[in-house]
Amino acid sequence: MLNSRVKLSLKTFDKDIEQKPTRDGYGDGLVIAGEQDPNVVVLCADLTESTRSEAFSKKFPERFFEVGVAEQNLATIASGLGVSGKIPFISSYATFSPGRNWEQIRTTISYNDANVKIAGAHAGISVGPDGATHQAIEDIATMRVMANMKVFVPCDANEARKATLAAAKIWGPVYLRFGREKMPVFTTEETPFRPGKVEIFWEPNPKKDKAKKPEAVIIGCGSLVHYALLAAKELDAEGIGVCVVNCHTIKPLDEKKILELVGECGAVVTVEEHQVMGGLGGAVAELLGKNLPTPIEFIGMQNIFGESGPPKDLIEKYGMGVKDIKEAVKKVIKRK
């Protein structure tokens, strides 16, 4: 059952739930952050509308910088602003930033401890028809490996707004990951967003499920958290109780709570629109390998590039759909 304490939308499982891309939450967050702090500035590399930087650019034109198609310049100008008291957000598609400008981010933002926020839009395979060149499926890994970098992957537009506002207030480099496609807005104003803390979105129904303790924990991030909830609901109908954890902060990982939850059930499925190497799954596997060796199944891109197609069909084709999550749960329970 949905965890009532996190106040998810009453329409979470309804067909007519409001649909919005997470990048919209980023755009809303930028404007609020700009109102709250005059030091917030935004830079964009020729993708102002589609990264949702446009509203900020219109409201605060003197604090918006268009750099053209030049992602290396995007990162390094932001570095200079960031060491001079400004709070720059840099907006582009994740394959270009932090893709093309990875070294500039490493040297001039991360190692340099510049107060820059990197927003990677169009992350994941659900970018759809643009195809594999524009589907960032390595960005969590490439940002997570940098010392000094924090990584947020919000699960819907509301959480994206909260993550953007949190990033503006946190000192130091932060990577924010957003998607292109419309998806259910299933968290609400009241749903907590605590950087570095996981939230339990679904837990076994103590009245109904055979075991009060979950048989497995699904740890997800980004757009697939909603898929994980759909899978949990179907599993519940089949008598399998699971826990679904929204892990919006990949770094720093909420090690304490994850170990506690995994310790209770002894089986884990990680769910992300990203390569299964080095992302959320990698982070959880590192933690468990070191502290609590546990059977784990990885939902994500299995060492392969995507292709053009409708977003939902791509999710199914590449094994990240509700059916796949359910199968992974059943498989991992058998491995206990």
Partner: protein, 288 residues
């Protein structure tokens, strides 16, 4: 900055010579590092930190200070030696260059040492960082200026030209930015015009809407005058192309690209120091 009278010029020239000696002594102690670039830029660094900059070595984070971005981080021995002589940190620390637990990293790290405005080493990203600092000064309505020291070789990097294009677009908004290029014609693999030709640099910068000044990078008077001219240019950023001799002051290093990336041995350092102390044999050194 005050006018450059004769006594001050003499002081600056002597300081540049001392900084060259410090560079040699640091490098021989470190047993690795770059020789040619730091020696070639000693006059310009001296002019900046001992005459041009509005700064306070005792308060390195003073918000109103002029900023210096060293884009080609590998010539940091000249930055470190200049900062120490200017009073940013103790002189004896120069001999910890590149050693374990030192604040003097092989390439500069912003948070390690007072006076370092940014981390650098990977080439081509300094001009854009300086642009960011200059834009921040504009937003805050501050009067400080931003100087970026860049090499000729890193004008082969795409990031450099992205920055030059952006600054040209901003026009008078970035008239607080002055870029100083060390045009010493060498890079690791050889002479720039053989590795990957850069010329015509003046015309390229002009085409990108910059004000261009060319100077002899060893003539402090000429360099100071160029910086004054840059301050008087309202409508666009300025690039000072400083023609320098790599390895300047040490005869066997001058204009030899083999000295780009290696330190002198103890024997070579002895000869180098003797040449610097006697100004190439023209005066007698008290050390002899």
């Amino acid at each position: 900055m005050a006018d450059l009278h004769e006594n001050k010029l003499k002081f600056l020239e002597e300081m540049a010579n001392k900084i060259r000696q410090d560079i040699i002594e640091m490098l021989v102690e470190a047993k690795s590092g770059h020789s040619a670039g730091p020696l070639g830029m000693a006059d310009i660094f001296t002019a900046l930190y001992f005459h041009i900059l509005n700064h306070n070595p005792k308060n390195p984070s003073w918000p109103e200070r002029d900023r210096v971005v060293l884009s080609n981080g590998h010539i940091c021995p000249v930055l470190y030696a200049t900062l120490a002589n200017a009073g940013y940190f103790p002189m004896e620390e120069l001999f910890t260059l590149r050693k374990l637990d030192s604040r003097l990293q092989g390439h500069p790290h912003r948070n390690s040492l007072p006076g370092i405005e940014t981390t650098s080493g990977p080439l081509g990203s300094g001009i854009s960082q300086a642009i960011g600092m200059a834009l921040a000064a504009r937003l805050d309505k501050k009067k400080n200026r931003v100087y970026c020291l860049t090499s000729d070789g890193e004008h082969q990097e795409g990031n450099t030209w992205e920055a030059i294009m952006f600054a040209g677009k901003q026009k008078s908004k970035l008239n607080n930015l002055t870029v100083i290029m060390d045009r010493n014609n060498i890079q690791i693999d050889g002479f720039t015009e053989e590795v990957m030709p850069l010329e015509p640099l003046r015309e390229k910068y002009e085409a990108f809407n910059w004000h261009v000044i060319e100077v002899n990078g060893h003539d402090i008077l000429e360099f100071v005058s160029a910086v004054n001219e840059a301050k008087a240019i309202y409508e666009r950023p300025t690039i000072i192309i400083a023609h320098t001799i790599p390895g300047k002051g040490v005869s066997f290093m001058e204009n030899d690209y083999m000295w780009h990336g290696k330190p002198p041995t103890k024997e070579e350092a002895k000869i180098a120091l003797s040449e610097l102390r006697t100004l190439g044999g023209r005066i007698k050194s008290e050390h002899e």
